[in-house]
């Protein structure tokens, strides 16, 4: 009901303006600055960190393979969690390369197909291929999404929320994890290069080129960062600067809704633990929290330490409608607080009433962000 009401408001506002622009201008300089800040200081460092830590994960796994020490395994687990946190902090911008190239389902499908995994462990030829030099490529091409990505690696490393003991992990399992981690790294390199192009480290660009992975919009000449930064210019898929701003907000809306309605909501309402995403490391609540941090980073124009207030979407919205900006700030903080208050681990507490408060906070955030989009659409400079 509430959503229909909001949708009607948006529709009326849309028709009231008609055009997506004011005075025939498709490019608005202030809006373009907000977009540039967001691409350069929210998206770019998030993906660069993701690339860095997924690369480190492969190295750390190989170090553990060589030493088989518990401290090295613990190190692997820590790197895994750091890398994953950066991925979860990217989920306010799953539009673009992560969706267009199917990178999201490739690296974040869940649950792991346990039968397929067991079949794999019983297949000497596949294990040999995964252990080979091109194991990462073999993995990416042949294993299928339900055996790839973070959750495949998580299954090998963690049990009941803790790193396994080193002796629990067999050679075959480790070979699989290294190959899958290599493929994960490759696709995270692809994400990074797709958004920042030549600003990505040469080794990352070389790897992506070697693997012949796509990195531009619609096989054209723009990377995703340039495409968004050039919103309103010919050649960009964004018809106007305001379309670009609304894309930023839409990305935030999508994850806010998904965390509330699906990631927390489905296990809570359906009382079905099979819908819990990170059951082995038991970091679901950390994941949800990082998803909202992703929204925060988008709204404030940067990851922590890289924000410039006056170039943020927050400052822009504040100028349009200070009350609305206040609502957004409160809604983001409220979602963070309510998720933080969920009893951990989620897998042991998914029917707890605190979860309902978190769901409502996320859905409220989604609704407030809808109002932001309406305000952006109707604002005349």
């Amino acid at each position: 009901m509430k959503r229909t009401f909001i949708a009607t408001i948006v529709a009326i506002a849309f028709l009231a303006v008609g055009c997506n622009h004011s005075n025939g201008e498709l490019v608005n300089e202030k809006q373009a600055q907000v977009i540039e800040q967001y691409v350069n200081h929210t998206i770019a460092p998030t993906y660069s960190n993701l690339a860095l830590y997924t690369d480190k994960l492969v190295n750390d796994l190989e170090a553990f393979r060589d030493s088989r020490s518990q401290s090295d395994l613990n190190n692997v687990c820590e790197t895994f969690l750091t890398a994953r946190a950066w991925w979860e902090k990217s989920e306010a911008f799953l539009f673009g390369a992560a969706s267009d190239f199917g990178i999201d389902p490739h690296i974040d499908s869940w649950p792991l197909d346990v039968d397929a995994f067991n079949n794999l462990m019983n297949s000497p030829s596949m294990l040999a291929a995964l252990a080979g030099e091109d194991g990462d490529v073999v993995a990416g091409e042949q294993l299928g999404n339900a055996l790839l990505g973070f959750h495949g690696i998580e299954y090998i490393l963690f049990n009941n929320g803790q790193p396994k003991s080193a002796s629990e992990i067999t050679t075959s399992q480790l070979g699989y994890a290294i190959a899958v981690a290599g493929d994960l790294r490759n696709r995270c390199f692809q994400l990074e290069v797709s958004w920042i192009g030549d600003a990505a480290p040469k080794e990352h660009r070389d790897k992506v080129e070697e693997l012949e992975l796509n990195t531009t919009v619609n096989s054209g000449s723009y990377n995703y960062g340039d495409n968004l930064k050039k919103a309103g210019n010919p050649g960009s898929t964004y018809a106007s600067s305001v379309s670009g701003l609304m894309a930023i907000v839409d990305g935030c809306k999508t994850i806010a809704d998904e965390v509330g309605t699906s990631k927390i909501g489905k296990p809570y309402n359906g009382e079905d633990p099979n819908y819990i995403e990170s059951p082995y490391s038991q970091k679901s609540i950390e994941d949800f929290y990082n998803n909202i941090l992703s929204i925060q980073n988008a709204y404030y124009g940067g990851i922590e330490g890289q924000r410039t207030d006056k170039l943020s979407l927050h400052a822009y919205v504040k100028k349009i409608n200070a009350n609305l900006d206040n609502e957004v700030e409160n809604a983001i903080q409220n979602a963070l607080d309510k998720i933080n208050a969920m009893p951990r681990p989620f897998v042991s507490n998914y029917t707890n009433p605190k979860n309902a408060e978190a769901i409502e906070a996320c859905q409220n955030l989604d609704d407030v962000l809808s109002k932001v989009n309406e305000a952006l659409r109707t604002y005349e400079e």
Partner: protein, 506 residues
């Protein structure tokens, strides 16, 4: 309707058509989202948003063999998720190879004899994936797709000198790739004499609205075209009424979905079937595999499969004779249901509930010029701009849902703008679609394809990389659209660009 400022405004009297056509899905079926999730929104008609979101999960997630909650993949399958074929919920992407795991590969293989009759020893949508110990009916690594250049009678050039490029696919499958012999109508077909074509997915939003077009309205359209002398597919229309083969199953509903007009009511349409046959996930009313008897026989007699079957499927050791047990497992009609009825209902809420993005920029002068030309030169004849839905008391031939079932979103009395007459025509292209007859594909929402999917390939096998190429593929000498293409060719560049801009605006 509010205060206007800034832009050039049309006269108030003209405002009504802009408002009306902006609501491409009617008031109940339109979203004003024009970002990358524009194809994914619930329509205002959806009352149970939670059900919609739970259904969405089933569409987006990869299925596993037996690990819940998205379990039931196999023993043979076409893809492991729905969204992989429907990237961003939109049109499939042009591919240089056929791999089930390639994101956005929305192609189905169409394997027939030289006369377009389906090879019966493969499923109608052939499977290229299998779970151990089974082997895929076709080894996809051996499928060859070549993209060939095509030069039309005008040298791929407009009278004013602007050129365009045309390409089309040639697909070959060597004999070594097939696990089963080929047969058509009970007769063997020699390897190498089969014809292989590609058919891609189109966007899935708005099918609930198309389903709400009354049967009588479709009939009136066929009658109008028939009376005007437009050639119609005799499989669908017999002069003054539906051909018997134009009606769906044992119902009186005309077929309206898929290129081939092979499906009638949406509740037994492509989606209702695909959630079962793409992944081979059984459910309460489909407790059998998407399978051919030939495959079951070949697999049951395959020593490799016999040797390993009981290891992988211990529960199906019923007789101790692997050949018997394999065959019976594959051909069983009372398998346990892998997808719950609740999940299926949620999926249908989502499927019927997908909104169509509002048209954009209809107040732009160039778009308006394009809109006018689109109608003047005859594009709108086949790409009929609008329909009005009826009471939407949809039916379910499977009897799973009651008529007009309250659990599902409905779109009564909506003026919608899909830009299709829902009738098949022929473009007579090289390496044409099977039978040559193709339902006019809806154009609504396609302008957002690059934003929503990262690609904007068009036509049934994704041969057109942009709107101009799509238009020019309508230009063969025998094409039903030839007359219109001749007029398009003679437009000035500004006018051609205006038509393209309009097509991208709807």
């Amino acid at each position: 309707m509010g205060v206007f400022a800034g832009c050039n405004r049309p006269e108030n009297t003209e405002l009504s058509w802009i408002e009306e056509e902006t609501y491409a899905g009617g008031k109940l079926g339109t979203t004003f989202n024009s970002s990358s999730s524009a194809y994914e929104d619930p329509a205002p008609a959806v009352t149970d948003i939670a059900a919609f979101k739970y259904g969405e999960y089933l569409f987006e997630r990869d299925f596993t063999q037996n690990t819940p909650p998205f379990n039931g993949l196999g023993p043979l399958y076409i893809r492991s998720s729905c969204i992989a074929c429907h990237p961003g919920y939109g049109h499939g992407k042009r591919m240089d190879r056929y791999a089930a795991g390639d994101w956005g590969n929305g192609y189905l293989l169409v394997v027939t004899d030289q006369n377009g009759n389906y090879v019966s020893t493969l499923t109608g949508m052939p499977q290229t994936k299998a779970v151990p110990p089974f082997k895929a009916p076709i080894d996809e690594s051996q499928i060859q797709i070549s993209w060939l250049d095509y030069t039309d009678e005008w040298g791929n050039r407009f009278p004013d000198g602007e050129t365009y490029s045309l390409i089309y696919p040639e697909v070959t499958i060597p004999a070594s790739a097939y696990y089963v012999p080929l047969e058509v109508g009970g007769q063997p077909l020699a390897y190498g004499s089969e014809v292989v074509r590609l058919e891609s997915t189109i966007g899935i939003y708005g099918t609930g609205l198309l389903d709400a077009i009354p049967d009588d309205s479709l009939k009136a359209q066929y009658l109008k075209e028939s009376n005007a002398g437009v050639p119609l597919n005799p499989a669908m229309w017999a002069g003054t009424d539906w051909a018997t083969t134009g009606l769906y199953g044992k119902t009186n509903h005309p077929k309206r979905f898929t290129y081939a007009c092979s499906r009638g009511p949406l509740q037994d349409g492509p989606g209702a079937n695909a959630i079962w046959n793409i992944t081979n996930v059984t459910r309460g009313d489909r407790r059998y595999h998407y399978m051919t008897e030939t495959y079951a026989r070949v697999a049951s007699q395959d020593p490799d499969v016999q040797a390993a079957f009981y290891t992988y499927f211990p529960d199906y050791n019923k007789t101790g004779n692997p050949e018997t047990d394999i065959y019976n497992y594959l051909m069983s009609k009372d398998l346990p249901a892998e997808m719950s009825n609740d999940d299926y209902v949620n999926l249908m809420v989502w499927h019927r509930g997908l909104a169509v993005p509002a048209a954009r920029n209809l107040d732009d002068a160039e778009v308006q010029k394009g809109r006018k030309l689109f109608r003047e030169i005859g594009c709108a004849y086949c790409h009929r701009p609008s329909w009005t839905t009826g009471p939407d008391r949809f039916t379910d031939p499977n009897g799973f849902f009651t008529t007009g079932d309250q659990r599902l979103p409905r779109y009564p009395n909506q003026k919608i703008w899909p830009y299709t007459d829902m009738v098949q025509h022929r473009l007579c292209m090289v390496n044409d679609i099977r039978t040559g007859w193709c339902r006019t594909t809806p154009l609504w929402g396609r302008g957002l394809s690059a934003i929503c999917t990262g690609s904007s390939d068009r036509l049934h096998d994704c041969r057109a990389r942009n709107v101009i190429e799509a238009i020019m593929w309508h230009g063969s000498a025998q094409s039903d659209a030839r007359w219109t293409v001749e007029k398009f060719r003679n437009l000035s560049k500004e006018d051609r660009d205006a038509v393209v801009k309009f097509i991208n605006a709807i």
